[in-house]
Symmetry: none
Subunit: 249 residues, 2 copies
């Protein structure tokens, strides 16, 4: 079940829009707002959402964190710094795996831009979610924290609760099939013929080593048939240039 | 070795600052800028960096992507959409593991805000880096793409915030380290010079496509410095043969 993203007392409408955009990139659509400073709806949110309007339109408004997470069995409080609280602390990765494995609804709390969640907000959560960060420079803004959590969640998504297809993973590496060996041989033969004529294999006793070096180098790329044809075209052009120049001379 | 983050023709100084902030959060400090639209330094960058000034101060400026990655053996091109290129495509997670496991320097390219990397930029890279994203709403901004990549990289760091040990994968040395990008460029330049003379790039309007095809094909093998030298020797021999025959004629 997809987690609910809860923004607690967010200050700028722009940041609410950016959070919505961050969510939708990774397939999260359920946004809840607790007492946004400038009310709701907020005219600054839409432009910053860059098209993630559906998340803003469906956003629900609450007066308290307790109300916002009332239907959630698992609540995570996102904090950057360690708090003097005795609760388990997990990374976004671990949280994502937990959320994904559960049948019940989870909520992830994010605090106001300037101050983060306060102690009473954190007290409502069973688990602390902390992004491991440069100990000498920890400066994540609200939308960045949301995007890292949403991104990790998406990595565990085989297909979401509504049966939607998985997120578009990069296509499996398709470099094309390597050309059949005989095409590779034809190319090597063509090159060796040209190099023979150019006196490349000198002194003769080193020729076998040179041939082996070239063969290894030309076998390594796993070129496709098309690529082998291109290389042969290049070789023919170079050979033709020679003839052309020879005619000129 | 920490990867280099390369912003290619970034438009807004503000976004350069945000990218620097995103980097430093996860321990990355080496930023390179290729032809930023509004020049460099840019007064909009500092405030947006929120204290990540050290990254901006050390940022290096380049005129071309080729120059920016000249000392890097592995180049990743970050793209959101599928491209009609036959290169391996990896997630930020897989890229982070690869970068971490290697002894040589890696560079990760990010394109301009509006358009992303163009086809020629992508052609310089051996690998495509794509963030798996909602197929119905893919809208990552520049700093968000940077932070996801930096975050994944940090997860493979020698010890994370909790002091966990690194996932120490042995570097894959059996194929030899790929040559630095500038050596590859030198080889491509040599071949293109020969092909220009041979009339290979005809008709002229197809030349950019032909050049890209050749570049992709020659980038694919991950040839070592020794192998690149061998290929250059082969090319020199072929060029010499031409002259030799010309003299004969």
């Amino acid at each position: 079940m997809n987690p609910v993203i809860v923004l607690v007392r967010p200050q700028l409408g722009e940041n609410i829009g950016k959070a919505a955009r961050a969510m939708l990139n990774f397939g999260l659509t359920e946004l809840r707002l607790v007492s946004p400073r400038d009310g709701w709806p907020n005219p600054g949110a839409g432009p910053a959402a860059s098209g993630a309007d559906i998340v803003l339109e469906r956003a629900q408004l609450f007066d308290s964190v307790a109300d916002a997470v009332a239907d959630c069995a698992h609540v995570y409080a996102t904090t950057v710094r360690k708090r003097g609280v005795t609760k388990p602390v997990v990374t976004p990765e671990a949280a994502a795996a937990e959320v994904r494995a559960r049948a019940e609804r989870s909520a992830i709390l994010f605090g106001p831009e300037r101050s983060g969640l306060d102690t009473d907000d954190v007290a409502l959560a069973r688990t602390i979610l902390t992004v491991p960060i440069n100990p000498e420079f920890g400066s994540l803004n609200l939308a960045q924290a949301v995007i890292l959590v949403a991104y990790e969640w998406s990595k565990h998504a085989p297909s979401d609760a509504d049966g939607h297809a998985a997120l578009a993973s990069p296509p499996t590496t398709d470099l094309g099939s390597p050309a059949p060996q005989e095409e590779l041989e034809g190319m090597i033969e063509q090159l060796e013929g040209m190099l023979d004529g150019a006196g490349y294999y000198f002194p003769p006793e080193r020729a076998p080593t040179s041939r082996r070096t070239l063969r290894t180098l030309l076998t390594k790329p796993a070129w496709t048939s098309q690529e082998v044809r291109t290389v042969r075209g290049v070789l023919s052009a170079l050979a033709g240039r020679k003839q052309h120049r020879a005619e000129e001379a």
